[in-house]
């Protein structure tokens, strides 16, 4: 439906590099993809494929050495409240603010709204993630899953053009994780926000995404871009969807490894 429309976010031939203490590392090499409005776009790849770096580049924290990233046609040069990041780390909430203050802070700091209005919007989104009872708690009194819910509420309260999620459920236990995935999909059903979601879990990618970008590691390059129905269906070739993804991501490595062993 959207194929004719111009994309919300256009990533074109983006090469990203970063410096460690004694190396210059190329994180991604000439990666291109488009995200359309209301997409649940997932970047999937093993560790070292530069997916988090790519997300931070969309966030404006890292400048590409080659290529460009455009949001609604305008090139991204610095971080801004139109692209809100949700991190994997539980410490993304400011511990000196309560749950409500954490969200209201984001709204006032960005100049979106002030005082009362910000509080009301904060409470609205806290209710959306089911934490009304904990609105005046400090983050350290919450469980990991609850903290991530607050972070998601904060991101959504900003009503950004695109929500950037960097493995937000990776540090949670498996049961909480499944529940959070379910909740995220329900929230999406509610407001149809656009989200760019990074993960290294194939099952999570299938569950969350409507479109999945596959990256291979060292440096990250696009291996493919596929649609997901949300279920791990058995395809025409008689293999489950997840196995097909696994094959696409790892077949090359397996081939290389077997060659070196000969």
């Amino acid at each position: 439906m959207n194929s004719g429309a111009s994309p919300l976010l256009a990533v074109k031939d983006v090469t990203l590099q970063y410096r460690t203490h004694d190396h210059l590392v190329t994180a991604t090499y000439r990666v291109s993809f488009d995200i359309h409005r209301s997409d649940r776009y997932v970047i999937l790849g093993p560790s070292g494929c530069g997916k988090s770096t790519l997300l931070k580049a969309v966030g404006g924290f890292i400048r590409p050495v080659e290529g460009e990233i455009r949001l609604n046609g305008a090139a991204i040069t610095k971080p801004g409240p139109d692209r809100v990041l949700v991190f994997q780390e539980f410490d993304q909430l400011l511990p000196w603010k309560t749950v409500k203050q954490n969200i209201a802070f984001a709204l006032t700091a960005s100049g979106k709204m002030s005082g009362r209005e910000a509080d009301e919007r904060a409470l609205h989104y806290i209710a959306k993630v089911g934490l009304t009872k904990f609105a005046d708690n400090h983050p350290h009194t919450l469980s990991g899953g609850m903290k991530q819910r607050v972070a998601i509420a904060r991101g959504m309260a900003m009503e950004p053009a695109i929500l950037l999620m960097d493995e937000p459920f990776a540090a949670l236990d498996a049961l909480t994780r499944a529940k959070m995935q379910e909740e995220l999909l329900q929230l999406w059903d509610d407001t149809k926000f656009t989200v760019l979601f990074v993960t290294h879990s194939i099952s999570e990618a299938i569950r969350i995404g409507n479109r999945i970008l596959l990256l291979t590691p060292h440096p990250g390059q696009v291996r493919g871009e596929i649609n997901s129905s949300g279920n791990d269906d058995v395809g025409a070739d008689g293999k489950p969807f997840s196995e097909r993804i696994q094959h696409l991501l790892f077949e090359q490595q397996v081939a290389e490894r077997s060659m070196t062993h000969d």
């Binding site: 409240p81 692209r83 990041l85 780390e89 410490d91 400011l94 000196w96 984001a106 700091a109 350290h140």
Partner: protein
């Protein structure tokens, strides 16, 4: 698979009904004695009482008021000096100078840290200066201060600034550098101005370190002040606690010396256990940044 069947023991599935009857105690309040024993303050008061008793008994056995007065004599001397207002005046005098030095030290530390956070050369300057001056006891600067500023309060304020400045600047700077990269990114993400970034992310994020710096700075300043007063003595406005101790020694009123020392201890305890502890409880403990 046939191997597995031979190795594993076959058992049927089992499920149980779970009820809470017959568990005994699920949750019950502790007895009064247990709760009292868990009270840290109460246990420490008990230790203090025992120490005071030992002091009293030993001093009576020694029976030499010039060397070691009894606990009761010290309390009497303390009470007398308190009632005449002498002790309060001396304490007030010391506190006034202390606050001047502490405040000036904090302002300078703030400026130095701001410069260090803004530029790399500033950071180098701060690190070199603190490395040089932090190990130097403030009291060692006293002879120099006497030459530069004369025998007035300015000399004491100068050594107090030295006592406060380095530890506060060092801890604040370290605190800023230790602010988690995630919080930094959160601050940038929501488009904070650089002033907002410092006041709303960096300072609260570094608050545990800043508070540590303030505490160390206070302790250094307090010890330095008493020592400096012993040397400087009195001037126009009267004398501080150090001077009170020195004077009492000169007139061989040893119980008053002990009373002066007791006052120094009490004030130190009050500031550390009430003012700083309250500040900690209201901030970093409430925020879960320190347990």
């Amino acid at each position: 698979m046939t191997d597995a069947r031979q190795v594993l023991t076959a058992r049927p599935d089992v499920t149980y009904e779970v009820t809470n009857t017959g568990v005994g105690v699920v949750e019950r309040p502790l007895s009064l004695y247990q709760r009292l024993a868990n009270h840290g303050g109460l246990r420490k008061v008990l230790v203090l009482v025992v120490l005071a008793l030992i002091w009293e008994v030993y001093a009576r056995w020694l029976a030499n008021d010039l060397l070691f007065p009894t606990f009761s004599a010290t309390i009497v001397a303390f009470w007398d000096a308190f009632v005449t207002g002498e002790l309060i005046k001396a304490t007030w005098y010391s506190m006034k100078i202390l606050f001047q030095g502490y405040a000036a030290g904090l302002i300078l530390a703030g400026l130095l840290t701001a410069f260090a956070s803004a530029t790399r050369i500033g950071a180098d300057l701060l690190e070199v200066l603190t490395a040089m001056f932090n190990p130097l006891p403030s009291i060692a600067l006293l002879p120099l201060a006497m030459i530069w500023f004369g025998l007035g309060n300015a000399g004491i304020v100068f050594v107090l600034i030295h006592a406060v400045l380095w530890s506060v600047a060092l801890n604040t700077h370290a605190g800023f550098r230790g602010v988690s990269p995630t919080w930094r990114m959160v601050g940038q993400n929501y488009g904070l101005s650089s002033f907002g970034y410092v006041t709303r992310i960096l300072i609260p994020g570094a608050f545990p370190s800043i508070l540590t710096g303030l505490k160390i700075g206070w302790a250094f300043a307090w010890r330095t002040l008493i020592a400096a007063e012993l040397v400087f003595g009195a001037n126009s406005g009267g004398g501080g606690l150090g001077w009170f101790i020195f004077q009492s020694k000169n007139s061989l009123e040893i119980p008053s010396v002990f009373a002066g020392l007791l006052t120094v201890i009490l004030l130190g305890l009050i500031v550390e256990n009430f003012i700083f502890l309250t500040a900690e409880k209201m901030t970093i403990r409430r925020w879960g940044m320190q347990t």
